[in-house]
Subunit: 245 residues, 2 copies
Protein backbone atom coordinates (compact mmCIF):
# COMPACT_ATOMS: atom_id res chain seq x y z
CA UNK A 1 0.00 0.00 0.00
CA UNK A 2 1.75 3.14 -1.26
CA UNK A 3 0.52 6.47 0.14
CA UNK A 4 0.71 9.61 -1.98
CA UNK A 5 -1.11 12.87 -1.19
CA UNK A 6 -2.07 13.62 2.41
CA UNK A 7 -4.58 16.33 3.33
CA UNK A 8 -5.44 16.50 7.01
CA UNK A 9 -7.09 13.20 7.90
CA UNK A 10 -7.23 12.01 4.27
CA UNK A 11 -4.51 10.02 2.49
CA UNK A 12 -4.73 8.69 -1.05
CA UNK A 13 -3.07 5.36 -1.74
CA UNK A 14 -2.36 2.86 -4.49
CA UNK A 15 -2.29 -0.87 -3.99
CA UNK A 16 -0.98 -2.21 -7.29
CA UNK A 17 -3.60 -1.04 -9.80
CA UNK A 18 -6.15 -0.14 -7.12
CA UNK A 19 -6.46 3.56 -6.22
CA UNK A 20 -7.92 4.20 -2.80
CA UNK A 21 -8.33 6.72 -0.03
CA UNK A 22 -7.92 6.28 3.71
CA UNK A 23 -9.43 8.62 6.29
CA UNK A 24 -8.03 8.31 9.82
CA UNK A 25 -9.12 10.09 13.03
CA UNK A 26 -5.78 11.14 14.51
CA UNK A 27 -3.28 8.38 15.25
CA UNK A 28 -6.05 5.86 15.60
CA UNK A 29 -5.69 2.60 13.71
CA UNK A 30 -8.55 0.64 15.25
CA UNK A 31 -12.06 -0.04 13.84
CA UNK A 32 -12.25 0.70 10.12
CA UNK A 33 -15.25 0.89 7.79
CA UNK A 34 -14.78 -0.15 4.17
CA UNK A 35 -16.91 2.03 1.88
CA UNK A 36 -18.09 0.34 -1.32
CA UNK A 37 -19.45 2.89 -3.79
CA UNK A 38 -22.52 2.36 -5.94
CA UNK A 39 -22.86 2.27 -9.72
CA UNK A 40 -21.84 5.55 -11.37
CA UNK A 41 -19.94 6.58 -8.21
CA UNK A 42 -16.31 6.35 -7.14
CA UNK A 43 -14.06 6.44 -4.04
CA UNK A 44 -14.42 10.21 -3.63
CA UNK A 45 -17.95 10.79 -4.95
CA UNK A 46 -19.71 13.46 -2.83
CA UNK A 47 -21.96 10.94 -1.07
CA UNK A 48 -18.99 8.70 -0.23
CA UNK A 49 -16.95 11.61 1.17
CA UNK A 50 -19.89 12.94 3.22
CA UNK A 51 -20.44 9.47 4.71
CA UNK A 52 -16.72 9.06 5.41
CA UNK A 53 -16.71 12.41 7.24
CA UNK A 54 -19.65 11.29 9.40
CA UNK A 55 -17.97 7.97 10.30
CA UNK A 56 -14.70 9.84 10.94
CA UNK A 57 -16.45 12.15 13.39
CA UNK A 58 -17.71 9.03 15.18
CA UNK A 59 -14.11 7.82 15.62
CA UNK A 60 -13.86 5.29 12.80
CA UNK A 61 -11.15 5.01 10.15
CA UNK A 62 -12.55 4.62 6.62
CA UNK A 63 -11.15 3.18 3.41
CA UNK A 64 -12.65 3.48 -0.08
CA UNK A 65 -11.33 2.12 -3.38
CA UNK A 66 -12.38 2.68 -6.98
CA UNK A 67 -14.04 -0.41 -8.41
CA UNK A 68 -12.55 -1.50 -11.77
CA UNK A 69 -13.60 0.98 -14.50
CA UNK A 70 -14.80 3.61 -11.98
CA UNK A 71 -13.23 6.86 -10.76
CA UNK A 72 -9.55 7.02 -11.72
CA UNK A 73 -9.59 3.63 -13.46
CA UNK A 74 -10.22 3.46 -17.21
CA UNK A 75 -12.49 0.54 -18.10
CA UNK A 76 -10.87 -2.55 -19.60
CA UNK A 77 -12.08 -3.78 -23.01
CA UNK A 78 -14.00 -6.54 -21.16
CA UNK A 79 -15.68 -3.94 -18.97
CA UNK A 80 -16.51 -1.70 -21.94
CA UNK A 81 -18.30 -4.67 -23.47
CA UNK A 82 -20.12 -5.35 -20.18
CA UNK A 83 -21.36 -1.75 -20.02
CA UNK A 84 -22.35 -1.72 -23.70
CA UNK A 85 -24.29 -4.99 -23.26
CA UNK A 86 -26.00 -3.60 -20.17
CA UNK A 87 -27.10 -0.42 -21.99
CA UNK A 88 -28.26 -2.41 -25.00
CA UNK A 89 -30.44 -4.61 -22.77
CA UNK A 90 -31.97 -1.56 -21.09
CA UNK A 91 -32.48 0.08 -24.49
CA UNK A 92 -34.22 -3.08 -25.69
CA UNK A 93 -36.66 -2.77 -22.78
CA UNK A 94 -35.17 -5.45 -20.52
CA UNK A 95 -36.24 -5.60 -16.89
CA UNK A 96 -33.74 -3.14 -15.37
CA UNK A 97 -33.28 -5.19 -12.20
CA UNK A 98 -32.29 -8.31 -14.18
CA UNK A 99 -29.85 -6.25 -16.25
CA UNK A 100 -28.33 -4.66 -13.13
CA UNK A 101 -28.07 -8.01 -11.33
CA UNK A 102 -26.18 -9.58 -14.25
CA UNK A 103 -23.90 -6.54 -14.58
CA UNK A 104 -23.11 -6.79 -10.88
CA UNK A 105 -22.10 -10.46 -11.16
CA UNK A 106 -19.14 -9.43 -13.31
CA UNK A 107 -18.28 -6.60 -10.92
CA UNK A 108 -18.23 -9.10 -8.02
CA UNK A 109 -15.74 -11.32 -9.85
CA UNK A 110 -13.35 -8.40 -10.39
CA UNK A 111 -13.83 -6.40 -7.19
CA UNK A 112 -14.04 -8.94 -4.35
CA UNK A 113 -10.35 -10.01 -4.73
CA UNK A 114 -9.33 -6.34 -4.76
CA UNK A 115 -11.20 -5.63 -1.53
CA UNK A 116 -9.57 -8.68 0.08
CA UNK A 117 -6.11 -7.45 -0.94
CA UNK A 118 -7.01 -4.03 0.49
CA UNK A 119 -8.07 -5.64 3.79
CA UNK A 120 -4.76 -7.56 3.86
CA UNK A 121 -2.83 -4.29 3.54
CA UNK A 122 -4.96 -2.44 6.10
CA UNK A 123 -4.70 -5.31 8.60
CA UNK A 124 -0.92 -5.23 8.21
CA UNK A 125 -1.05 -1.54 9.19
CA UNK A 126 -2.95 -2.54 12.35
CA UNK A 127 -6.49 -1.57 11.37
CA UNK A 128 -9.50 -3.60 12.40
CA UNK A 129 -12.05 -4.86 13.25
CA UNK A 130 -13.61 -4.13 9.85
CA UNK A 131 -17.11 -3.01 8.92
CA UNK A 132 -18.42 -2.71 5.38
CA UNK A 133 -20.92 -0.21 4.01
CA UNK A 134 -22.28 -0.36 0.48
CA UNK A 135 -25.70 0.06 -1.14
CA UNK A 136 -26.91 -1.02 -4.59
CA UNK A 137 -23.78 -2.14 -6.54
CA UNK A 138 -21.88 -1.62 -3.29
CA UNK A 139 -24.07 -4.34 -1.74
CA UNK A 140 -24.00 -6.62 -4.77
CA UNK A 141 -20.21 -6.66 -4.28
CA UNK A 142 -20.25 -6.41 -0.48
CA UNK A 143 -22.50 -9.41 0.19
CA UNK A 144 -20.23 -11.95 -1.56
CA UNK A 145 -17.24 -10.13 -0.04
CA UNK A 146 -18.62 -10.43 3.50
CA UNK A 147 -19.56 -14.06 2.87
CA UNK A 148 -15.96 -14.85 1.85
CA UNK A 149 -14.04 -12.60 4.22
CA UNK A 150 -14.05 -13.49 7.94
CA UNK A 151 -12.35 -10.22 8.88
CA UNK A 152 -15.52 -8.22 8.12
CA UNK A 153 -17.54 -8.31 11.32
CA UNK A 154 -20.55 -6.02 10.63
CA UNK A 155 -22.12 -4.58 7.47
CA UNK A 156 -24.75 -2.17 6.20
CA UNK A 157 -26.30 -3.38 2.94
CA UNK A 158 -29.36 -2.41 0.90
CA UNK A 159 -30.98 -1.35 -2.39
CA UNK A 160 -30.38 -4.81 -3.83
CA UNK A 161 -32.41 -7.99 -4.32
CA UNK A 162 -32.05 -11.72 -3.89
CA UNK A 163 -31.34 -12.66 -7.51
CA UNK A 164 -27.74 -13.88 -8.03
CA UNK A 165 -26.99 -13.20 -4.31
CA UNK A 166 -28.93 -16.00 -2.58
CA UNK A 167 -25.96 -18.25 -1.89
CA UNK A 168 -23.73 -15.46 -0.56
CA UNK A 169 -26.57 -13.97 1.54
CA UNK A 170 -27.27 -17.32 3.19
CA UNK A 171 -23.56 -17.65 4.08
CA UNK A 172 -23.50 -14.33 5.97
CA UNK A 173 -23.63 -14.67 9.74
CA UNK A 174 -22.39 -11.24 10.89
CA UNK A 175 -24.67 -8.42 12.11
CA UNK A 176 -26.31 -6.65 9.14
CA UNK A 177 -28.36 -3.46 8.91
CA UNK A 178 -30.32 -3.67 5.66
CA UNK A 179 -31.77 -0.54 4.01
CA UNK A 180 -34.75 -0.92 1.68
CA UNK A 181 -36.53 1.79 -0.31
CA UNK A 182 -40.24 0.98 -0.33
CA UNK A 183 -40.82 2.50 -3.79
CA UNK A 184 -37.50 1.47 -5.37
CA UNK A 185 -37.95 1.77 -9.14
CA UNK A 186 -34.96 -0.50 -9.79
CA UNK A 187 -35.15 -3.30 -7.22
CA UNK A 188 -38.55 -4.98 -6.74
CA UNK A 189 -39.66 -4.76 -3.09
CA UNK A 190 -40.23 -8.52 -2.91
CA UNK A 191 -36.64 -9.14 -4.09
CA UNK A 192 -35.25 -7.01 -1.25
CA UNK A 193 -37.52 -8.59 1.38
CA UNK A 194 -36.46 -12.05 0.21
CA UNK A 195 -32.80 -11.04 0.39
CA UNK A 196 -33.22 -9.78 3.96
CA UNK A 197 -35.01 -13.02 4.80
CA UNK A 198 -32.18 -15.09 3.29
CA UNK A 199 -29.30 -13.37 5.12
CA UNK A 200 -28.01 -16.10 7.43
CA UNK A 201 -27.42 -13.92 10.48
CA UNK A 202 -29.68 -15.52 13.03
CA UNK A 203 -31.18 -14.43 16.29
CA UNK A 204 -28.73 -15.42 18.97
CA UNK A 205 -29.85 -14.78 22.51
CA UNK A 206 -26.24 -14.04 23.50
CA UNK A 207 -25.88 -11.25 20.92
CA UNK A 208 -28.51 -8.50 20.78
CA UNK A 209 -29.49 -8.82 17.12
CA UNK A 210 -27.87 -10.15 14.01
CA UNK A 211 -29.89 -8.49 11.26
CA UNK A 212 -32.24 -5.54 11.18
CA UNK A 213 -34.28 -4.08 8.29
CA UNK A 214 -34.98 -0.37 7.77
CA UNK A 215 -37.51 0.45 5.06
CA UNK A 216 -38.49 3.96 4.01
CA UNK A 217 -40.79 5.39 1.35
CA UNK A 218 -39.16 6.78 -1.76
CA UNK A 219 -37.11 5.71 -4.75
CA UNK A 220 -33.70 4.05 -5.20
CA UNK A 221 -31.64 7.16 -4.47
CA UNK A 222 -33.82 8.62 -1.74
CA UNK A 223 -32.56 6.92 1.44
CA UNK A 224 -33.34 9.45 4.20
CA UNK A 225 -30.44 11.24 5.89
CA UNK A 226 -31.26 9.80 9.33
CA UNK A 227 -30.23 6.34 8.08
CA UNK A 228 -26.63 7.61 8.06
CA UNK A 229 -26.88 8.32 11.79
CA UNK A 230 -28.45 4.91 12.27
CA UNK A 231 -25.54 3.29 10.44
CA UNK A 232 -23.08 5.07 12.77
CA UNK A 233 -24.93 3.65 15.79
CA UNK A 234 -25.05 0.20 14.18
CA UNK A 235 -21.29 0.13 13.60
CA UNK A 236 -20.68 1.57 17.08
CA UNK A 237 -22.73 -1.27 18.63
CA UNK A 238 -20.83 -3.96 16.75
CA UNK A 239 -17.30 -2.64 16.15
CA UNK A 240 -16.85 -0.84 19.47
CA UNK A 241 -18.39 -3.25 21.97
CA UNK A 242 -17.79 -0.93 24.92
CA UNK A 243 -19.33 2.20 23.32
CA UNK A 244 -22.91 3.23 24.02
CA UNK A 245 -25.39 1.71 21.57
CA UNK B 1 -58.06 15.03 36.09
CA UNK B 2 -57.66 14.38 39.79
CA UNK B 3 -54.12 13.69 41.04
CA UNK B 4 -53.54 11.39 44.02
CA UNK B 5 -50.17 9.90 44.96
CA UNK B 6 -46.99 11.69 43.89
CA UNK B 7 -43.58 9.99 44.00
CA UNK B 8 -40.76 12.04 42.54
CA UNK B 9 -41.55 12.58 38.86
CA UNK B 10 -44.55 10.21 38.93
CA UNK B 11 -48.13 11.18 39.73
CA UNK B 12 -51.12 8.87 39.62
CA UNK B 13 -54.41 10.36 38.47
CA UNK B 14 -58.05 9.52 37.89
CA UNK B 15 -60.15 10.97 35.09
CA UNK B 16 -63.66 9.79 35.88
CA UNK B 17 -63.36 5.99 35.78
CA UNK B 18 -59.96 6.05 34.06
CA UNK B 19 -56.90 5.47 36.27
CA UNK B 20 -53.69 6.85 34.86
CA UNK B 21 -50.15 7.89 35.62
CA UNK B 22 -48.25 10.97 34.52
CA UNK B 23 -44.44 11.21 34.53
CA UNK B 24 -43.03 14.73 34.20
CA UNK B 25 -39.39 15.84 33.89
CA UNK B 26 -39.25 18.78 36.35
CA UNK B 27 -41.64 21.66 35.77
CA UNK B 28 -41.79 20.88 32.08
CA UNK B 29 -45.23 20.61 30.47
CA UNK B 30 -44.23 20.45 26.81
CA UNK B 31 -44.00 17.40 24.51
CA UNK B 32 -45.82 14.39 25.95
CA UNK B 33 -45.84 10.76 24.85
CA UNK B 34 -49.01 8.73 25.41
CA UNK B 35 -48.14 5.10 26.26
CA UNK B 36 -50.72 2.55 25.19
CA UNK B 37 -50.07 -0.82 26.86
CA UNK B 38 -50.41 -4.17 25.12
CA UNK B 39 -52.71 -7.09 25.89
CA UNK B 40 -52.13 -8.54 29.36
CA UNK B 41 -50.30 -5.35 30.43
CA UNK B 42 -51.37 -2.21 32.28
CA UNK B 43 -50.34 1.41 32.89
CA UNK B 44 -47.53 0.43 35.28
CA UNK B 45 -46.43 -2.92 33.84
CA UNK B 46 -42.62 -3.26 34.04
CA UNK B 47 -42.10 -2.69 30.30
CA UNK B 48 -44.31 0.42 30.35
CA UNK B 49 -42.48 1.90 33.35
CA UNK B 50 -39.03 1.15 31.87
CA UNK B 51 -40.05 2.84 28.61
CA UNK B 52 -41.50 5.82 30.47
CA UNK B 53 -38.22 6.23 32.38
CA UNK B 54 -36.26 6.23 29.10
CA UNK B 55 -38.56 8.87 27.53
CA UNK B 56 -38.42 10.88 30.76
CA UNK B 57 -34.60 10.91 30.63
CA UNK B 58 -34.90 12.27 27.08
CA UNK B 59 -36.99 15.19 28.36
CA UNK B 60 -40.49 14.02 27.50
CA UNK B 61 -43.54 13.91 29.74
CA UNK B 62 -45.40 10.58 29.57
CA UNK B 63 -48.97 9.54 30.31
CA UNK B 64 -50.34 6.00 30.55
CA UNK B 65 -53.86 4.83 31.34
CA UNK B 66 -55.34 1.42 32.09
CA UNK B 67 -57.48 0.19 29.21
CA UNK B 68 -60.95 -0.99 30.31
CA UNK B 69 -60.65 -4.29 32.19
CA UNK B 70 -56.85 -3.99 32.62
CA UNK B 71 -54.69 -3.00 35.62
CA UNK B 72 -56.82 -1.41 38.34
CA UNK B 73 -60.07 -1.75 36.36
CA UNK B 74 -62.28 -4.79 36.88
CA UNK B 75 -63.70 -6.07 33.59
CA UNK B 76 -67.34 -5.26 32.81
CA UNK B 77 -69.73 -8.15 32.11
CA UNK B 78 -69.46 -7.26 28.39
CA UNK B 79 -65.67 -7.48 28.57
CA UNK B 80 -65.78 -10.78 30.49
CA UNK B 81 -67.85 -12.18 27.65
CA UNK B 82 -65.39 -10.78 25.08
CA UNK B 83 -62.45 -12.45 26.86
CA UNK B 84 -64.34 -15.75 27.27
CA UNK B 85 -65.28 -15.74 23.56
CA UNK B 86 -61.67 -14.99 22.62
CA UNK B 87 -60.33 -17.89 24.73
CA UNK B 88 -62.99 -20.23 23.38
CA UNK B 89 -62.01 -19.40 19.80
CA UNK B 90 -58.33 -20.00 20.55
CA UNK B 91 -59.21 -23.25 22.35
CA UNK B 92 -61.20 -24.35 19.32
CA UNK B 93 -58.09 -23.88 17.18
CA UNK B 94 -59.02 -20.57 15.55
CA UNK B 95 -56.34 -18.55 13.74
CA UNK B 96 -54.91 -16.56 16.68
CA UNK B 97 -54.41 -13.40 14.62
CA UNK B 98 -58.10 -13.33 13.54
CA UNK B 99 -59.17 -13.86 17.16
CA UNK B 100 -56.85 -11.09 18.40
CA UNK B 101 -57.95 -8.69 15.66
CA UNK B 102 -61.63 -9.16 16.54
CA UNK B 103 -60.92 -8.80 20.27
CA UNK B 104 -59.07 -5.56 19.55
CA UNK B 105 -62.02 -4.10 17.62
CA UNK B 106 -64.05 -4.07 20.84
CA UNK B 107 -61.11 -2.57 22.76
CA UNK B 108 -60.89 0.25 20.19
CA UNK B 109 -64.54 1.13 20.66
CA UNK B 110 -64.10 1.43 24.43
CA UNK B 111 -60.59 2.87 24.69
CA UNK B 112 -60.31 5.51 21.95
CA UNK B 113 -62.86 7.86 23.60
CA UNK B 114 -60.99 7.47 26.90
CA UNK B 115 -57.67 8.41 25.34
CA UNK B 116 -59.30 11.45 23.72
CA UNK B 117 -60.71 12.58 27.08
CA UNK B 118 -57.22 12.09 28.58
CA UNK B 119 -55.69 14.24 25.83
CA UNK B 120 -58.34 16.93 26.52
CA UNK B 121 -57.31 17.01 30.19
CA UNK B 122 -53.56 16.98 29.45
CA UNK B 123 -53.91 19.77 26.86
CA UNK B 124 -55.79 21.87 29.44
CA UNK B 125 -52.75 21.45 31.72
CA UNK B 126 -50.55 22.81 28.92
CA UNK B 127 -48.99 19.56 27.63
CA UNK B 128 -48.30 19.00 23.96
CA UNK B 129 -47.45 18.31 21.19
CA UNK B 130 -48.46 14.68 21.69
CA UNK B 131 -46.79 11.49 20.53
CA UNK B 132 -48.27 8.02 20.91
CA UNK B 133 -46.43 4.74 21.50
CA UNK B 134 -48.17 1.39 21.50
CA UNK B 135 -47.41 -2.08 20.11
CA UNK B 136 -49.74 -5.03 19.53
CA UNK B 137 -53.07 -4.15 21.26
CA UNK B 138 -51.53 -0.73 21.91
CA UNK B 139 -51.30 -0.25 18.13
CA UNK B 140 -54.70 -1.76 17.40
CA UNK B 141 -56.09 1.00 19.63
CA UNK B 142 -53.51 3.66 18.72
CA UNK B 143 -53.98 3.55 14.96
CA UNK B 144 -57.72 4.42 15.07
CA UNK B 145 -56.92 6.92 17.84
CA UNK B 146 -54.25 8.68 15.76
CA UNK B 147 -56.54 8.64 12.72
CA UNK B 148 -59.28 10.39 14.73
CA UNK B 149 -57.19 12.69 16.89
CA UNK B 150 -55.42 15.63 15.21
CA UNK B 151 -53.49 16.47 18.38
CA UNK B 152 -51.30 13.35 18.01
CA UNK B 153 -48.43 14.40 15.77
CA UNK B 154 -46.09 11.37 15.69
CA UNK B 155 -46.48 7.70 16.61
CA UNK B 156 -44.59 4.43 17.05
CA UNK B 157 -46.73 1.45 16.12
CA UNK B 158 -46.09 -2.22 15.43
CA UNK B 159 -46.77 -5.92 16.08
CA UNK B 160 -50.14 -5.62 14.39
CA UNK B 161 -51.57 -6.38 10.94
CA UNK B 162 -53.82 -4.80 8.37
CA UNK B 163 -57.02 -6.71 9.15
CA UNK B 164 -59.72 -4.46 10.70
CA UNK B 165 -57.26 -1.50 10.63
CA UNK B 166 -57.10 -0.68 6.90
CA UNK B 167 -59.41 2.32 6.98
CA UNK B 168 -57.77 3.91 10.02
CA UNK B 169 -54.25 3.21 8.71
CA UNK B 170 -55.01 4.90 5.39
CA UNK B 171 -56.31 7.97 7.26
CA UNK B 172 -53.02 8.45 9.16
CA UNK B 173 -50.78 11.19 7.78
CA UNK B 174 -48.42 11.85 10.69
CA UNK B 175 -44.85 10.50 10.95
CA UNK B 176 -44.89 6.83 12.01
CA UNK B 177 -42.11 4.46 13.08
CA UNK B 178 -43.43 0.94 12.59
CA UNK B 179 -41.84 -2.03 14.39
CA UNK B 180 -42.25 -5.50 12.89
CA UNK B 181 -41.01 -8.83 14.25
CA UNK B 182 -39.90 -10.96 11.32
CA UNK B 183 -40.88 -14.25 13.00
CA UNK B 184 -43.99 -13.01 14.82
CA UNK B 185 -45.97 -16.09 15.79
CA UNK B 186 -49.16 -14.03 16.25
CA UNK B 187 -49.22 -11.52 13.38
CA UNK B 188 -48.48 -12.87 9.88
CA UNK B 189 -45.55 -10.99 8.32
CA UNK B 190 -47.55 -10.17 5.21
CA UNK B 191 -50.28 -8.58 7.37
CA UNK B 192 -47.75 -6.24 8.99
CA UNK B 193 -46.09 -5.34 5.67
CA UNK B 194 -49.49 -4.53 4.19
CA UNK B 195 -50.36 -2.37 7.17
CA UNK B 196 -47.10 -0.41 6.83
CA UNK B 197 -47.84 -0.05 3.12
CA UNK B 198 -51.36 1.24 3.84
CA UNK B 199 -50.40 3.90 6.39
CA UNK B 200 -51.22 7.14 4.61
CA UNK B 201 -48.16 9.13 5.69
CA UNK B 202 -46.58 10.04 2.39
CA UNK B 203 -43.12 11.10 1.35
CA UNK B 204 -43.10 14.86 1.46
CA UNK B 205 -39.92 16.53 0.24
CA UNK B 206 -40.41 19.32 2.80
CA UNK B 207 -40.48 16.88 5.74
CA UNK B 208 -37.67 14.32 6.09
CA UNK B 209 -39.78 11.18 6.21
CA UNK B 210 -43.32 10.31 7.13
CA UNK B 211 -43.13 6.61 7.82
CA UNK B 212 -40.27 4.23 8.48
CA UNK B 213 -40.27 0.45 9.06
CA UNK B 214 -37.93 -1.42 11.42
CA UNK B 215 -38.01 -5.20 11.16
CA UNK B 216 -36.02 -7.56 13.36
CA UNK B 217 -35.79 -11.34 13.67
CA UNK B 218 -37.61 -12.92 16.56
CA UNK B 219 -41.08 -13.48 17.94
CA UNK B 220 -43.93 -11.19 19.03
CA UNK B 221 -42.41 -10.23 22.38
CA UNK B 222 -38.78 -10.04 21.29
CA UNK B 223 -38.39 -6.47 19.98
CA UNK B 224 -34.69 -5.68 20.54
CA UNK B 225 -33.76 -3.12 23.19
CA UNK B 226 -32.13 -0.77 20.67
CA UNK B 227 -35.57 -0.04 19.19
CA UNK B 228 -36.38 1.87 22.39
CA UNK B 229 -33.46 4.21 21.70
CA UNK B 230 -34.61 4.51 18.11
CA UNK B 231 -38.09 5.48 19.30
CA UNK B 232 -36.57 8.23 21.48
CA UNK B 233 -34.74 9.63 18.45
CA UNK B 234 -37.90 9.35 16.33
CA UNK B 235 -39.98 11.34 18.83
CA UNK B 236 -37.14 13.83 19.28
CA UNK B 237 -37.05 14.44 15.50
CA UNK B 238 -40.78 15.02 15.29
CA UNK B 239 -41.89 16.47 18.65
CA UNK B 240 -38.84 18.65 19.32
CA UNK B 241 -38.08 20.18 15.92
CA UNK B 242 -34.99 22.01 17.17
CA UNK B 243 -33.36 19.01 18.88
CA UNK B 244 -30.67 16.95 17.16
CA UNK B 245 -32.12 14.11 15.05
Amino acid sequence: MHFSTETGQEREFALGDIPGVLWTPGDHNGPLILLGHGGGQHKKAPGVVARAQRYLTAGFAIAAIDAPGYGDRPPSPEQKKLTADFRERLGAGANPWHAVADYNVAMVRWTVPEWRATIDALATLGYGPFGYFGLSMGSAIGIPLAAAEPRISAATFGLVGLETLAEAAAAITIPVEFVLQWDDQLVPREQSLKLFDTIGSSVDKEIPVQKTLHANPGGHGEVPAFELDSSVRFFSRHLKPTAAG
